[in-house]
């Protein structure tokens, strides 16, 4: 499906692989369109089926419920035909046939391929081998651009402006692609980013990305507008990074007491799935005055609609 030649619409990029390669105007265009869809999604019949006749394939080499569903829903809302391929690592052998998989899908003439893969850089590798647009739905511990975009829009809708906000990203930064994408995106948009984590979960050289590092959560939360919690990724932990989840919750889990250090109207975010009682107190997660975790999910669909549109028919300039 090609964009109209005389169209006022713009294709920003052939693929959406990382936040790192997005420019600020591109981010603005995407977020504006996503914001429109976030409202339109609540009203029936408001959405033009701009992707009618195009094929969207989701190819997930890692398990996922929310991201996969979110993308499939986004595709359907825009009128695309979407198909999901469950390529859990056991079925398609780890990366070894990645290029073969790409070739197979190429032959099926998909318009967009949405890929999640446990290895950093694997989605980019795949994008080099196919003729269609590719969206990175998370590659290893590298990036998860649509999550960062939906987080940015959630913040924008609640706080109006991202510029100048103090945003704390807390927890397992080492294993988190969400953290990397958010650091890059939110600092591009002018926020001040802090990392709060035990030293073992802070990747080397992250300070060069322009973040401030705190090992003490109480201190790190002072004056924060946004508290973004990360899931403790026990499945990626090959060695010992934290002695126990009990100790982790005590020092790095978000509870009412620690949250008092942040601004009074500070919002709580979490990319999901949550480990209740490990990184976040259960009642805080459900507190609708403070937690925007469900908004994140809702806005996720809108952001993904904008991304799909950007890569196929283009977005209004």
């Amino acid at each position: 499906m090609k964009p109209l030649k005389d169209s006022k619409r713009t294709l920003l990029k052939p693929h959406l692989l990382s936040v790192e390669e997005l420019s600020i105007p591109e981010i603005d265009i995407l977020l504006n369109k996503a914001n429109f869809y976030a409202d339109a999604n609540r009203q029936k019949g408001k959405i033009e089926k701009t992707l009618k006749g195009s094929t969207v394939i989701t190819l997930f080499f890692e398990t996922s419920t929310r991201t996969k569903t979110s993308f499939e829903l986004a595709a359907k809302r825009l009128g695309a035909d979407s198909i999901g391929i469950n390529a859990s690592t056991s079925a398609i052998k780890k990366g070894e046939t990645l290029i073969d998989t790409a070739m197979t899908l190429n032959a099926m003439h998909a318009d967009i391929l949405i890929v999640r893969h446990p290895d950093s850089g694997a989605v980019k590798l795949l994008s080099e081998k196919v003729n269609c647009a590719v969206i990175n739905a998370g590659d290893g511990t590298h990036e998860h651009p649509t999550q960062a975009l939906l987080d940015a829009l959630t913040i924008k809708r609640n706080k109006k402006n991202i510029k100048g906000l103090n945003i704390a990203i807390c927890g397992d930064v080492l294993h988190s692609r969400v953290a990397r994408s958010n650091i890059l995106l939110l600092s591009k948009l002018g926020a001040r980013i802090r990392i709060i984590a035990p030293p073992t979960l802070i990747p080397k050289g992250i300070e060069n990305l322009g973040v401030e590092i705190f090992n003490n959560m109480e201190k790190g939360l002072i004056n924060c507008d946004i508290v973004m919690m990360l899931r403790l990724q026990t499945e990626r932990m090959k060695g010992l990074y934290v002695p126990s989840t009990r100790e982790y919750f005590k020092f790095y889990g978000l509870d009412h007491k620690k949250l008092k250090n942040a601004k009074k109207d500070a919002l709580i975010m979490h990319p999901g799935p949550m480990n209740r009682g490990i990184e976040i107190d259960s009642s805080l997660a459900d507190n609708l005055d403070r937690s925007v975790i469900h908004q994140q999910v809702e806005i996720g669909v809108a952001v993904r609609m904008a991304c799909l549109e950007m890569l196929t028919v283009g977005i209004d300039k």
Partner: protein
């Protein structure tokens, strides 16, 4: 039956001299070398007279760290293709790692490879033996028998000897045969299955990093054992600034330690990975710019004795994978000379010093009678033009595998002819 190579700029690494002169070769031996040793009045007594005006002649290069994949993975490299590639790179002596399949941990495999090499090439080919049986890290190989069979040193190739007691015993035992113990230093636990250097770049790419401390910590422990045993010890593939410092100090103390590095560690840094280029995935990983500069300094001040290619052939299927799963290694035989000459062109080292690190120094470390132009020695010569510009083209490589990140690189310094045992083995 004499050949004369005349009017050449001769680089004699043994005498540490550069002069214009001639080399006379009879059969497989150098019978005379020096200014004006070619007798112009008796041209008929020579079979061939090669005028080498404006060209340099050095001893044929000695590459002390080469993985030939035969036996085991002949589709990546065979002894035959590897030897051809070596000749094309100006190399007349190769020393192979024991990382074949089966591993060179017994006399019969060592003898098989030597016999096979004689069948397919005139090259001087030696092998190392593994230090422990099948690289198990626990049980020592028959160092005595293997030494007797011509094995030139003992190493577990790309695996570090982790167990201190095993290394201590190996060092002690090696003294009985004056064998060389070669360590590939990388603390396995600290390396933590990493795939590149740990730092900002690994964080940005989301790849697991190998901290540079993983290398030096092994060397420091080893040096304690070397001091305690007074054995001969060699470190392969030095890649970090801290390692260079530690080895420099050990040498000052008078320990019998030597070391080498490969061109990738003084020509590239971790930035070369860019967007997950698996062709620069190597072990040890490419390090930071600070480390690269320290390697250059280590070469300059003599801390690093030798340069080897760490030739590691990998087929495309093993490289065109996500970075985590791609095999490690770069082929190096055919780029060893031009990459090493960068040290000369950017004025870090003199030409004779570059050549020494590729000839005399590794020969001395391994007690080999190569890398010299002395009268009576074997006529293994490299005729080259250190200034000739060219573009690296892997398609023209003799090596079966093409995994070089230096493809398309504009370079300087070309092999014109390689002479092995008095015969022209390669001509550009």
């Amino acid at each position: 039956m004499k050949d004369a190579y005349i009017n050449a700029k001769i680089l004699d690494p043994e005498k540490n001299k550069e002069f214009i002169g001639d080399i006379i070769v009879e059969k497989d031996k150098i019978i005379d070398v020096g200014p004006n040793v070619y007798k112009k009045d008796k041209p008929k007594s020579y079979t061939n007279v090669h005028d080498c005006k404006n060209l340099f002649i050095s001893p044929g290069l000695l590459d002390m760290r080469v993985s030939l994949r035969e036996p085991g993975s002949e589709h990546k490299e065979s002894i035959k293709s590897g030897c051809k590639a070596a000749f094309a790179g100006g190399i007349t002596t190769v020393v192979c790692l024991p990382n074949t399949d089966p591993v060179i941990d017994n006399v019969s495999v060592a003898e098989y490879i030597q016999k096979r090499a004689k069948e397919v090439s005139k090259i001087n080919l030696y092998t190392y033996g593994s230090l422990t049986k099948n690289f198990d890290g626990e049980n020592l190989c028959e160092m005595g028998l293997l030494s007797k069979a011509g094995v030139k040193g003992f190493t577990d190739a790309t695996k570090s000897i982790e167990n201190s007691a095993v290394l201590k015993r190996a060092l002690e035992y090696s003294k009985a045969f004056d064998s060389l113990v070669i360590q590939f230093p990388e603390d396995k636990n600290l390396a933590n299955d990493g795939v590149m250097n740990e730092g900002e770049i690994s964080t940005r790419l989301g790849l697991t990093g190998i901290p540079s401390i993983a290398e030096v910590i092994t060397i420091e422990r080893d040096l304690r054992l070397v001091e305690a045993t007074s054995a001969r010890y060699h470190v392969s593939c030095v890649s970090t600034s801290e390692s260079v410092d530690v080895i420099r100090n050990a040498k000052k103390k008078g320990l019998k330690v030597t070391c080498d590095t490969s061109p990738q560690y003084f020509t590239l840094n971790e930035m070369a990975i860019e967007d997950y280029r698996t062709f620069v995935k190597v072990s040890p990983p490419l390090r930071s710019e600070k480390d690269r500069l320290a390697i250059v300094n280590g070469l300059k001040d003599g801390t690093i004795d030798a340069i080897q290619s760490d030739h590691s052939p990998q087929d495309e299927d093993n490289k065109r994978l996500p970075f985590n799963h791609a095999e490690k290694g770069i082929i190096g035989l055919e780029t060893l000379l031009p990459l090493s000459l960068e040290l000369y062109h950017n004025k870090s080292l003199s030409l004779i010093d570059v050549i020494k690190k590729l000839t005399k120094n590794p020969a001395d470390i391994l007690n080999l009678e190569h890398g010299t132009l002395t009268k009576g020695s074997k006529a293994d010569l490299l005729i080259f033009d250190p200034n000739k510009p060219f573009v690296v083209d892997v398609k023209k490589f003799k090596s079966k595998s093409k995994n070089s990140p230096f493809d398309k690189k504009p370079s300087q310094g070309k092999v014109i002819k390689t002479i092995c045992s008095g015969e022209v083995s390669y001509a550009a």
